[in-house]
Amino acid sequence: MASIIALVILGLLWGGVYLLMAEGLNLIYGVMKVVNLAHGDLIVFGGLLGYSLFAHAGFTPIAALLPVALVLGALGAVVQWGILERIPLVGADGELRTLLATFGLSYVVSNTSFLLWGGQFQSIPFLQGALRLGPIAIPEGLLACSLAAFIAALLVDFWLHRTLAGKALRATAQSPLGAASCGLEIRRIRIIAFALGTAMAGGAGALVIALVPFQISSGGDLTVQSFTLIALGGLGNYLGAWIAAEILGLAEVLSQYYLGPDIASAIIYLLFIAVLLFRPQGLLGRLGRV
């Protein structure tokens, strides 16, 4: 019994990290209706950047969160300005072209990571102890990272809903034409949204690398994981994404424990395809959109 409770707690904590990972993708999708296929590779890039900060300057993952997010945010702004802004988003061709462009970008990012950090698995030893609550042990590292992820996700959410800039961004997500006719500069808002999205990817990467070792080829998995999450939660839906993140966290932890890592990694994909086929509108449907 105690082990199941421990697993559930682990799963829920993992949900926080998944949420941060997926919320960046969600934000970008919400505003631009573009799925950034390089998302997972940017998470990996952020994680390895955090690793370097740790190895050379002794940054803990929590301390690395902000600088990594800033670097990735700047990178995201450049990508949006230099690439995606150049593709008109009208019609089926627009979607196809952004898909192909970010598909190409994902290989550029992962190969760059490979050149910078090599192909080995990297990890950061961080808070190796465990918090004991009676018979249940919770790894301190996971607890800290999960809290940091929740706080980061909440801050972004607060920014989106309570500040004028955030409201402008949400308005653009709901109707670019309407927002533009209210005098908002859509181009700038898109760049901000993309930068914020990649900053969140980077921040998530900096935290995740302290929890599981990863290497450059993990990018595709992380993209699909993040996409599963927002598809499960409903594209562009925050409450749904949070619930989905918890479900995914639980599914991942429980299947790892009971079925082994091989099957666990396959389950994510099967879950993904099942979600797409049977619940394409997401868990909550249209409730609680951006």
Partner: protein, 576 residues
């Protein structure tokens, strides 16, 4: 015809050159030939589903890996001769792709692309975990008797793949694929079984990728999960198609040759930066040249899809047009299409609330009503594009039940759409021909029916043009011609005359009168009555999803209830 001969000569020349290189050149060049032919096969295979059907996949490498393993295991465990093992691998993949495609192709766009990516990963995980495949370490296969044999087999496969797409682009199937890619709903309305067409393209694509994989494994003599399901293969395949020209017949060939030679150079000079270069190239192409090399003149002129169908000028007397099947007795019922208590609700909103309606063969019924009255929803239910919440529909004397729209279209229920749904990449002639082939099993008959319809709708001069080049009124005319090409028993027109000039309206009225004279029942939705009044024998007025008046057009128009529905109570008071 000359175009076909040129293409055959070019293809034969390429194949012959391949064979001569395989027989005469040194081992390095023969390997280069092998990888180039492999690239062309993969690109052509990917283009079938990603380009011609319009379903971009990031997981076709799954079939490459599957084929490599299936071929290897067939050679190892059953000691099959290698050509047989390759055929087996390709058949297995194509067979497996059928149920898989039926499931996966319900997705589209990014969902299908990523879903396929996920499937490829699952396949890799499975192969990695199995003992029979050698797990992560992979499997060795007895190597080929020198590279010449496999290189020639690869050239033959590539040639076959190109010949296949050449044939498809000239056949009914290619026309249907192009329509599916442009607008799946309009294709279904023209009688195309869209899910069957795309699954067939998916199977062919899978079979080609698997055959290529099996030959690859045979050539290398070794296969492991990392090389069988390599992301680089997927990236390179997508890039080749993009560079050459997505959706064209020769673009993938061009892109395949160029990019595979480029990768060979990259592999030698920048072994670790390969993906950056290929990825960046994909990026730049997606931004700057999405049509690939095939979109650059004069290539664009040479490589564009050959227009299908030949105008048959001898056949345009009205008698050559099909007699509508509705003219014959329909199980003793006078109505060819009828519905009773038909209702539709979306959540809490009732769009249509219990509508009764019936049309007899040759009758023209006008359905009018203000905005939001439920007219288009009614049409969607009648044409099986949406399922009713309540009520019953009878078609040709029997309950219609649930029936996919394309079958209903083939059974003789044709429709147009409120906002024109035409195929941007099909010519006017091809648009009508597409629907005509759904009705006429023989190609020649379909061409004749199409020619007759173009004469009747005065679109002959536009036959070779694309719909975008037509003014709105003529686009509507084309949609009506497409619907009539199904030789329908019932024709549903959704505001067909909106945006037409007076001359065009007169033309449509003549065409509709002729169709009704042949026994086609016509139900026409119009926002306002005048356009349809001269034709209509009966009018039905909908408001808030209910029938508020029915009868002769003049009587209906004078009905105070109808005036109130259009103008509101205040206007009534004002008038009196």
């Amino acid at each position: 015809m000359t175009r076909l001969i040129i293409e055959i000569v070019v293809l034969a020349g390429l194949a012959l050159a391949g064979v001569m290189i395989a027989l005469g050149a040194n081992a390095y060049v023969v390997q280069l030939l092998f990888s180039t032919a492999l690239a062309v096969t993969l690109a052509v295979g990917w283009n079938l589903i990603g380009g011609m059907a319009g379903y971009v996949s990031f997981g076709q490498v799954a079939f490459f890996g599957l084929g490599a393993y299936a071929g290897a295991l067939a050679m190892l465990t059953w000691a099959l001769p290698w050509p047989l093992a390759i055929v087996l691998a390709a058949s297995l993949a194509a067979l497996l792709a059928w149920p898989l495609g039926r499931i996966m192709l319900r997705l589209s766009g990014i969902f299908f692309a990523l879903g396929m990516f996920g499937l490829a990963r699952v396949a890799q995980i499975i192969v990695n975990a199995l003992a029979i495949t050698g797990g992560p370490m992979g499997t060795s296969i007895p190597t080929a008797e020198g590279p010449a044999a496999t290189a020639m087999a690869m050239v033959a496969l590539a040639t076959g793949a190109v010949a296949l797409t050449m044939a498809i682009s000239r056949a009914r199937f290619g026309l249907r694929l192009a329509a599916l890619r442009d607008d799946a709903i309009a294709a279904a309305a023209a009688g195309v079984d869209t899910s069957r067409v795309k699954v067939m393209a998916f199977c062919a694509s899978a079979g080609l990728a698997a055959a290529a994989g099996a030959l690859y494994a045979r050539n290398v003599g070794y296969i492991d999960p990392a090389s069988g399901f390599a992301g680089t293969i997927e990236l390179q395949t997508v890039l080749m198609v993009l560079a050459g020209g997505i959706g064209t017949v020769w673009g993938p060939v061009l892109g395949g040759v160029l990019i595979s030679l480029l990768s060979t150079v990259l592999w030698a000079r920048f072994p670790t930066e390969q993906q950056i270069i290929l990825g960046a190239l994909t990026l730049v192409l997606a931004i700057a040249m999405p049509g690939g090399l095939a979109s650059i003149p004069p290539l664009s002129l040479w490589l564009r899809r050959p227009p299908l169908g030949v105008f048959k000028p001898t056949a345009f007397t009205p008698t050559a047009m099909e007699k509508a099947p509705a003219a014959v007795a329909v199980n003793g019922e006078s109505a060819v299409l009828a519905c009773r208590g038909l209702g539709k609700r979306f959540g809490g909103v009732v769009a249509v609330a219990g509508v009764d309606l019936a049309v007899a063969p040759g009758e023209i019924l006008a359905v009018i009503g203000p905005n939001g009255a439920g007219k288009s929803t009614l049409f969607d239910m009648l044409s099986a594009f949406s399922a009713p919440s309540s009520g019953e529909i009878r078609f040709r004397g029997a309950p219609r039940g649930t029936m996919p729209p394309h079958l209903l279209a083939r059974a003789g229920l044709a429709r147009t759409f409120q906002t024109s749904r035409l195929f941007p990449r099909l010519t006017v002639f091809e648009t009508v021909l597409l629907a005509a082939t759904s009705h006429h099993p023989r190609w020649r008959d379909a061409e004749q029916a199409t020619s007759a319809l173009l004469v009747a709708t005065d679109l002959v001069g536009d036959a070779e043009r694309f719909p975008d080049a037509l003014p709105p009124g003529r686009q509507r005319l084309l949609e009506i011609a497409r619907a009539l090409a199904l030789a329908p028993a019932v024709l549903l027109l959704d505001e067909a005359m909106a945006g037409m000039t007076v001359a065009e309206i007169a033309r449509v009225q003549a065409v509709l009168r002729a169709a009704a004279g042949r026994g086609t029942a016509i139900i026409a939705i119009e926002h306002v009555l005048p356009a349809i009044a001269p034709l209509a024998m009966r009018a039905l007025v909908l408001d808030n999803g209910q029938t508020i008046a029915e009868g002769a057009p003049d009587a209906v128009l004078a009905d105070p209830v109808v005036i109130e529905a259009y103008l509101g109570v205040d206007a009534m008071a004002l008038a009196s």
